[in-house]
């Protein structure tokens, strides 16, 4: 293509694609053999393109058993989703039961009757009570109760007053 024909390049492609040329371009074509040849070549390419382009998408067909395969796969999906739904229900049920139990325990603890003050005071007294005989264990004879006396010795070391003997 000559330099002066460069400006017709777009028109040339348009004409090849649409089949109609503008008046200006037609005038140019009558006087330019190069552009005429170029247009013929572009028309041939366009015919080839029309033949090939559909093959780029329609070259293949789905397999004969495609529908059956999709249906089988969808059945598997349905089974899976049913199992998932069952698991979800079970989990939700268990969670609800735990929550209800916790709420119940909390409410019971808050509303359970408290011990009356008198009863608490009595219980305190009972805990601090000591038997009156506890005092006897702290007498001087206490040691005798814990250990065995030796022969000739007595734990009752009572000093004898000589004046009194005489």
């Amino acid at each position: 293509m000559k330099n002066e024909c460069e400006k017709w390049k777009d028109q040339l492609l348009e004409t090849a694609l649409t089949g109609t040329a503008s008046a200006d371009f037609e005038t140019h074509l009558r006087s330019c053999t190069i552009c005429s040849k170029e247009l013929d070549a572009a028309r041939a390419r366009k015919a080839r393109l029309d033949e090939l382009l559909p093959l780029a998408a329609r070259g293949a067909e789905p397999p004969v058993d495609f529908r059956a395969r999709v249906l089988a796969a969808s059945e598997a999906v349905r089974e899976g989703s049913r199992a998932r739904r069952w698991r979800l229900w079970t989990l939700a049920g268990a969670t609800a039961a735990i929550v209800v139990l916790m709420i119940g325990v909390t409410i019971y603890r808050r509303t359970a009757p408290a011990f009356p003050k008198e009863e608490l005071a009595m219980a305190q007294k009972l805990a601090e009570w000591r038997a009156p005989s506890d005092g006897l264990l702290r007498t001087p004879g206490q040691e005798m109760l814990r250990t065995m006396p030796r022969l000739g010795k007595s734990y009752l070391n009572v000093p004898v007053k000589k004046d009194e003997e005489e």
């Binding site: 348009e14 382009l53 529908r67 249906l71």
Partner: protein, 179 residues
């Protein structure tokens, strides 16, 4: 009678009806869905995987997609997105695995009649890959049978007029590139 038990009974009673309706939807849409995936991915094996995945997702949402038109629009959109995601994954892996070499893994091309057409188709695919994303998406979807400009626009969220204009631009670029 527990809620779960009632739920199970309802599911059981509805199952055959759901299956029948869904089977019908697959039959109506499978060809187009497969082609959308194929136009993006360029091979049957991946297209089949992606188409199946799209239908499975539609199945999970089938309760809200019972109307044929709604189903059609939804599945078109989903399969296109899934195919794009897979393609991006492939490209990432390809870049990572072959970064050390210049040879490119040959693309699998189905549907070509002869070797020459196969070569031309491969070249065309490469040129389509080189198109700007906006033009490429529109072109790929427009090539699918039963996909009118409005359908393509619904998938991509653009008006039908924009779809037609982008397809024209894409074809012009390809015409120039395929010299």
């Amino acid at each position: 009678m527990t809620g779960a038990f009632v739920n199970a009974l309802i599911l059981k009673a509805e199952a055959p009806e759901t299956e029948a309706g869904f089977g019908e939807r697959i039959a109506e849409n499978q060809r187009r869905v497969f082609q959308i995936a194929y136009s993006v991915l360029g091979n049957s094996a991946d297209a089949e995987d992606v188409a199946q995945e799209a239908f499975l997702r539609a199945y999970q949402k089938y309760a809200s997609l019972r109307e044929a038109e709604k189903f059609r629009a939804w599945v078109n959109r989903i399969v296109f997105r899934l195919a794009l995601n897979r393609r991006r994954g492939h490209l990432r892996r390809l870049t990572r695995d072959t970064a050390w070499q210049f040879t490119e893994a040959p693309a699998m091309i189905d549907g070509a009649k002869d070797a020459e057409q196969r070569v031309m188709l491969e070249r065309l695919r490469k040129q389509i890959e080189l198109l700007p994303e906006k033009l490429r998406s529109v072109l790929q979807l427009s090539l699918v049978e039963e996909m009118e400009a409005a359908d393509v626009g619904a998938v991509l969220g653009i008006p039908a007029g924009t779809v037609r204009s982008r397809v024209h631009t894409a074809r012009k670029l390809l015409l120039e590139a395929m010299k």
